[in-house]
């Protein structure tokens, strides 16, 4: 069947389903729409995912990412219940005789104000919501997780969730359900963050003080999003307090941070947040002149302004700017992300909400050497994304929620350019050809409720990727060798690849306390990271699908059982998933990726699969809260020319993965937290023989990833001491944490060496990174 025929068939199916579920509902009297925004009354922040229900029924809706809700009901009297976890519920009686605007402000529960609330959603949403394989964490829960060097880190918290694992010790890279770390779409206020780590991956670029909402989709990715195979991490920053001037900050061992929020007139508010490490300040105290001249820091800054023009129009401007810098007197490097988004929320009618977004996302790195005028060199690489999105949300009745829209990204990659830096240089300058592409997507999706018990979700995303000629000769490869070359006029589209990405899900609500769900999603990825290391480095560049590189595809199926216990105090879930991946990209043995303009020559293609069982028991609130998760999984790949063309374990295949996270309020002044993680050892290729070359023993290896490192486990603990009295405007606390509390020596890598004094003898040496890392952080708010 041709592509257009397939697309037509899928679209037809969509509309038949839509018509069936929308217009075959019992004939109803005239409806009116009640709509508005749901906010936190203390700071004016939009509450994402707040529930609105008609009291005593399951009929209702949830607020969207901008706090907007809309409910169309037949005329009459209703009692609406507004609820959000950690906030006091609010019941409002309304009489609907016409379309009504009702903005709601919810008040935070005084007790839960200081208590850690793990989830960011209302108590039984996991049962009733038509989505699965989704994890939400509150900023408080993230903050409560004991942190490496006291640096609260959203990604480190996410790594404790079922189906998610760190790519290596201490890394901010993560693998979701056996996928690669470049298969996660990380969005910060809708802008793609290409490299989410500082300091070689040990810290993420996200400053928790500026974060409002974190959602991780491990599967069942909404049709609204695409472009990555494995997951979507959607991070939204705070809008800025529109009630009063506030501040949040902290002073830690390696960095300090400050976030300021303020109303900006009657209709606007803003936030500015910054963080910087100061290891280089201590270097100035060194007696070694070389160390004094070294730099070693990272910083990041978030800024956001929102302006409410009127009830139907609102504008948001947000930016992130972060950079790492390391240098000594001979060499240096710096790298960083910048993202900017401009959004316009427009409410066309109480039933139609829209959001238009302009996005800029940039990543670059710069290397330099400082040896002599003749030898000094520099090298830089940059990627620029310019995008726009138009998203529409239509709520024709309480039973249906239709979403549709268009996304566009223009990619401009500069893979590398540089050379000698002075006129006296003996080194030439080179520039690899720039790469240009356009990525488009249109989508339509509907979520429908049938008789309160059954929720259906179905959608279709059409994506297309177009390579735009840079005017240079293009190589066409066959069997990984150049077959012929062709040159296109600069600016001309010379290759278009397209995919249909259907998404579907069903939720069967058995009772208020348990439900069964199933989902299917197809995702396509058109750009990938040129890195074959386990966790990546800042020097990795992204490359595009092309005439030689097909987009990677993933079909994911999942079923789950969701059960709440003890009046929703506990949430339990079990999910089974299966992922089938096509056109998976990997690299040939000994691939040369850095500074190689012919990266496509180094690629190899194949397929993969992964499956697993994820179980989670979570207690969301109370003096003792936290979660226990267990994942049983398997992940395999088969790539041309690798492992003699046989199947092998993917680098993220860890059959057993356990996380226990617990927070306990000892007293009003003290909260203690701990987490323990266990994971099967990382797959590894070990030497099983050796050959002698030039007086050295070169390893002969086992099959790819045939062995495993020793199992990984670690306990982290922390305690937070509230220093201020309740009710004070200025509140402060001390946080003490101990990372790897029992000093487990987890291998970061294992190296194989020859004995110096017995050159015919070899030995294995484990490199481990962190044992007993204590830290103390002073946090404050006002």
């Amino acid at each position: 069947m041709g592509f257009m025929a397939k697309a037509g068939k899928l679209l037809l199916s969509f509309f038949i389903l839509f018509i069936l579920t929308t217009f075959t509902l019992p004939a109803q009297e005239k409806k009116f729409t009640i709509s508005g925004n749901i906010k936190d009354n203390s700071n004016g922040e939009d509450l994402i995912g707040a529930e609105v229900t008609i009291s005593g029924t399951r009929t209702g809706t949830v607020s969207n990412a901008y706090g907007f809700y809309s409910l169309s009901l037949p005329g009459g009297k209703y009692t609406l219940l507004f609820s959000y976890i950690g906030y006091l519920k609010k019941e409002i009686a309304v009489e609907l005789t016409s379309d009504t605007k009702l903005n709601i402000e919810l008040e935070m529960n005084a007790r839960e104000l200081k208590e850690v609330v793990v989830s960011a959603e209302e108590r039984n949403v996991t049962i009733t919501k038509a989505e699965m394989s989704v994890e939400k964490l509150s900023a408080k829960a993230i903050k409560a997780v004991p942190a490496l060097m006291g640096e609260v880190d959203v990604i480190k918290a996410i790594q404790l969730l079922p189906g998610v694992q760190a790519t290596s010790e201490g890394s901010s890279g993560f693998s979701v359900r056996g996928g690669g770390y470049d298969q996660n779409l990380i969005l910060l206020d809708e802008a793609t963050v290409y490299s989410a780590s500082h300091l070689m991956g040990f810290f993420s670029v996200f400053n928790n003080d500026a974060i409002k909402d974190v959602t991780l989709y491990k599967g069942d990715i909404p049709a609204t999003f695409g472009g990555r195979l494995s997951s979507l991490l959607d991070i939204r920053t705070k809008d800025g307090n529109n009630q009063r001037f506030t501040g949040t900050g902290g002073v830690g061992l390696i960095s300090s941070r400050l976030t300021l929020e303020s109303p900006l007139g009657a209709k606007a508010s803003g936030l500015i947040s910054g963080r910087r490490t100061y290891a280089d300040v201590f270097l100035l105290l060194s007696s070694d002149e070389n160390l004094r001249k070294s730099s070693l820091y990272f910083y990041d800054m978030n800024a956001k302004v929102n302006f409410r023009i009127n009830d139907n129009n609102r504008i948001f401007l947000a930016g992130y700017f972060g950079r790492d810098n390391f240098a000594n007197r001979f060499a240096g490097m710096d790298f960083g992300n910048q993202t900017v988004t401009a959004r316009w929320n427009h409410i066309f009618s109480p039933k139609v909400f829209s959001n238009f977004t302009l996005i800029g996302s940039f990543y670059d790195y710069y290397l330099k050497s400082n040896l002599s005028e003749q030898l000094n060199q520099e090298w830089k690489s940059r990627m620029n994304d310019y995008g726009m999105k138009a998203d529409f949300s239509y709520l024709p009745n309480p039973a249906n929620h239709l979403k549709f829209g268009y996304n566009f990204i223009y990619h401009r990659f500069t893979p590398g350019e540089g050379g000698g830096t002075s006129n006296e240089s003996i080194i030439g300058r080179i520039a690899f050809p720039k790469e240009y592409a356009a990525e488009h997507a249109v989508y339509i999706a509907n979520e429908t409720t049938i008789a309160d018990k059954l929720k259906l979700k179905y959608g279709l995303r059409y994506s297309a990727f177009q390579n735009i000629s840079n005017g240079e000769e293009q190589e066409y490869l066959e069997d990984y060798s150049v077959a012929y070359t062709k040159t296109c006029k600069r600016g001309k589209i010379y290759k278009t690849q397209q995919q249909l990405e259907p998404r579907a899900g069903i939720t069967c609500i058995i009772s208020d306390y348990h439900s069964v769900k199933a989902s299917y999603s197809r995702t396509a990825q058109y750009i990938q990271l040129a890195s074959n290391s386990a966790s990546g480095s800042p020097l990795d560049v992204w490359f595009q699908a092309s005439q030689n590189v097909k987009p990677q595809l993933c079909n994911q199926f999942a079923v789950g059982y969701f059960r709440n216990l003890a009046d929703n105090e506990y949430e339990a879930s079990a999910e089974l998933y299966y992922k089938d991946m096509k056109d998976v990209v990997d690299f040939k043995d000994h691939a040369e990726l850095l500074g190689n303009k012919d990266i496509e020559h180094e690629l190899r293609f194949g397929k993969g699969y992964s499956y697993g069982l994820e179980m989670m028991l979570r207690k969301n609130s109370g003096r003792l809260n936290g979660w226990l998760s267990y994942t049983l999984s398997k992940s395999r790949r088969k790539i041309d020319d690798i492992n003699n063309d046989n199947w092998y374990r993917s680098p993220y295949d860890k059959p057993h993965n356990i996380s226990i996270v617990a927070n306990y309020e000892l007293s009003p002044e003290w909260i203690v937290s701990a987490n323990w993680v266990y994971a099967s050892g990382t797959p590894v290729t070990y030497p099983t023989g050796r050959l002698q070359i030039e007086n050295s023993y070169v390893p002969i290896y086992s099959g790819r990833n045939e062995y495993r490192y020793p199992a990984y486990h670690r306990l982290d603990v922390s305690a937070t001491w509230q220093l201020s009295k309740p009710g004070k405007r200025f509140r402060h606390e001390l946080n003490f944490s101990l990372y790897n509390a029992y000093g487990r020596k987890n291998p970061w890598t294992i190296l194989f060496r020859q004995e110096n004094d017995q050159p015919d003898s070899s030995y294995a040496e484990m490199v481990y990174l962190f044992t007993f890392i204590p830290s103390i952080t002073w946090n404050f708010t006002f």
């Binding site: 000594n328 003749q374 003996i426 070359i693 790819r704």
Partner: protein, 296 residues
Amino acid sequence: MNTPLYKKITLIGIAFLPVFLSSLFSCTERIDINTEASAPRLVIYGSITTDTMQHSIKITRSGGYFSTSKPEGISHAAVSIRTDKETFTLQESSTEAGLYQTGKSVFGTEGETYRLSVALDFDEDGRQETYEAVSYMPGAPRIDSIGFRPSLLADDYLEVAVWGYMPEAEENYLSFHLYRNFEIVNDSLQGFFIIDDRYMDKKEIVDVSCFYLNQEEEQSILREGDIITVRIDGITKEYAAFIKDAQSELWGSDPIFSGPPANVQTNIISKSPSESILVSGFFTAFSGSKKTTVYR
């Protein structure tokens, strides 16, 4: 001319950052690893050069990784190196099993293609297997002078720099060796220093720092009057890749900057394919030039 740009970048990135990280956080500890020894491989390694000398091919059987003995040499092989014009037959050394040598007056010629043939019964099934490898002999560089200076990169180090010219070929790969009083200093795989000129504009070798000698370590201290020889070989792209890959496997991998470990590719081809015999090693031809000076 210097280390090509991409290598310099690699040098900055790969060397600087892990060193920085290691200094901050890492510790090492010896551990016991139990791996099942792989089936022994046939290893053939050797070369022919432009020097007039006995050229050698070593044929061994690979051992387990944690073996403590030298690899076993394989005797009774028929070994020859030939061009279209001549054939050199190699004889097994009477003092070292598995070492096959040409006569003393043999030398290679730039531009020639050399073919190695080996016939032996590796699996001792009574039938001989044959193996072949081919290598082109690239041109040799010219060395004009050698210089010495205290290193900018580290205290107590002395840099040895050279001046000269690359061969006129489009792409050149050069391997450097250093001799002190006629004793080789970099005699191990780690000591191989290889550069290429893929991204260079000129064929001139200007002030290339090729060796960094720690003047606090006895084996690399230079004293006045020492006779210093630098040898630069023009090697093939394939041999440069083989050495580079072997070096990276010796260095080992880490999760940030390295790809997965992999066996080093060989150019030895079995002419009697047997699934039970795996072969490793390399045969190459290279041309060399030397320059000698006295250290003052």
